[in-house]
Symmetry: C2
Subunit: 277 residues, 2 copies
């Protein structure tokens, strides 16, 4: 009986749920708040006070208000790479673990980043080989981007919180210095309080309109699905609808990781892909 399985809270269904719902429901007793007629706080206090694990979605705001209603929570598993919807400080204070999709999406996202770079360079008839490309954030995605750029003959440098001793690329501790010393920038960092508005929209559009920046390729926007209208008018801008990661293979990897993290949690084993910020 489902009631005998460990409980898994899902407030909003993540995009990939459709692919794993049947698999999840064989292993867990799913508490789907979005399917209930009760208001969320009522649903949580009625059904989920004792829940230990939650599968989050990018639109679920896992903040202090929510966590206060879930005193038993010990794990937030998100099927995404980003954790910008999760209050990590609050989770840490409450002893709640956060797991992500790890590198499930990294290669596909890197492919699209490089594709956008080629589109932009090609539009402005710029050769890619020999160009100095700066990567902001040399994590999993940034490293995959760097690997590809090397094959194109680019000179790769990067900015990151820490210098990565094992990697041969030139490190800049300051993102402005990186920008000043490169022909193109690729932003691969996670969205955090520190990185939010690192690139200012008004400044970006102004630079593009005045030709101070030769072009831009964008897959992610601040207020999706809204995209700043000014960008559509610029023919040196390539827009992609935040879909870099949406391949069936990426989803499959992410789904396997979500399930592995949940099973590890309920077996008292370490997380497969803990968030380490």
């Amino acid at each position: 009986m489902a009631q005998d399985l460990p409980q898994l809270l899902i407030i909003h269904p993540p995009l990939s749920l459709i692919h794993i719902e049947s698999q999840l429901s064989r292993k867990f007793h799913l508490l789907g708040a979005w399917e209930s007629e009760l208001p969320l706080d009522k649903f949580l206090t009625t059904y989920a006070r004792s829940v230990q694990a939650m599968l989050s979605s990018p639109i679920t705001r896992v903040n202090a208000d929510l966590l206060r209603l879930l005193p038993g929570l010990k794990l937030v598993a998100t099927p995404t790479a980003g954790v910008n919807n999760i209050d990590l400080v609050e989770c840490r204070q409450r002893g709640i673990s956060v797991t992500t999709s790890g590198s499930a999406f990294s290669e596909d996202v890197a492919d699209i980043a490089v594709g956008l770079l080629i589109d932009v360079q090609s539009k402005s008839q710029q050769q890619i080989g020999g160009k100095r490309v700066g990567i902001v954030g040399l994590g999993k995605i940034g490293s995959e981007v760097a690997k590809r750029l090397e094959a194109f003959g680019c000179i790769v440098s990067y900015n990151s919180r820490r210098k990565k001793q094992a990697l041969p690329y030139l490190f800049y501790s300051n993102v402005h210095e990186l920008a000043a010393n490169t022909d193109a920038l690729i932003i691969c960092c996670a969205l955090t309080d520190q990185t939010r508005h690192m690139i200012n929209k008004e400044e970006l559009v102004r630079c593009l309109v005045h030709g101070e920046i030769g072009g831009a390729g964008l897959d992610v926007f601040e207020n999706e699905p809204h995209v700043p209208q000014e960008l559509f008018a610029l023919d040196n801008v390539f827009l992609s609808p935040h879909k870099a990661a949406l391949t069936p293979e990426s989803f499959e990897r992410s789904n396997r990781i979500v399930i592995a993290n949940l099973e590890a949690f309920f077996s008292n084993k370490p997380s497969i892909t803990p968030f380490n910020g």
Copy 2:
């Protein structure tokens, strides 16, 4: 005096002439047929009967009719990679050397080919990593494409006139067999009588419309600037206006090679980049 310099015949000005005309005219006595009011045959018999070297352009048809009017010709230098406008058999019979732009454009063209692949795969939400990609023609461009695809985690195989022993990719002697064993094909071969219509337009469009092919990225068309209208209606087709090679850096490389080939010829030295078909 220009008259003392070696003669160089130019029937139609190649795109890059504007960048090297002054440099060429310091070294050669330029005979510009396109600037003359005389009809071409008259111009050639009047001014160019004794000319030994010619700078060709993609629109100059270097065929038997033309060569008959140029009995002294010993060199056709083309600033392009393609030689489909040149009757190579006729040149060989007349002992005329043909030089090309060598690999001046190869890296830029490879970049765009990979960019189109990413566009097409991304449009259909297909992962690139792990995909089997077949390269038709593993010459200079094909090899650069292969190098880039390896960084994306693709499994590269190829069809070519000859197996390249030094390269690690799987060889198919038959292009249909290559197509049957790969997820995507990239056409990198030269246009010759053997390769013309290897991909049939009607067949290509039919396959795209019926979803038998997931998508296509095209930078070159048979009757440029005309592009088959059916292609514009297909949202799984990415079109680029034969501009893959048009970066300033590629032109500069090509110009240097043209001049080096001409200088080598007039100093009785071997060509820098002879065409070897």
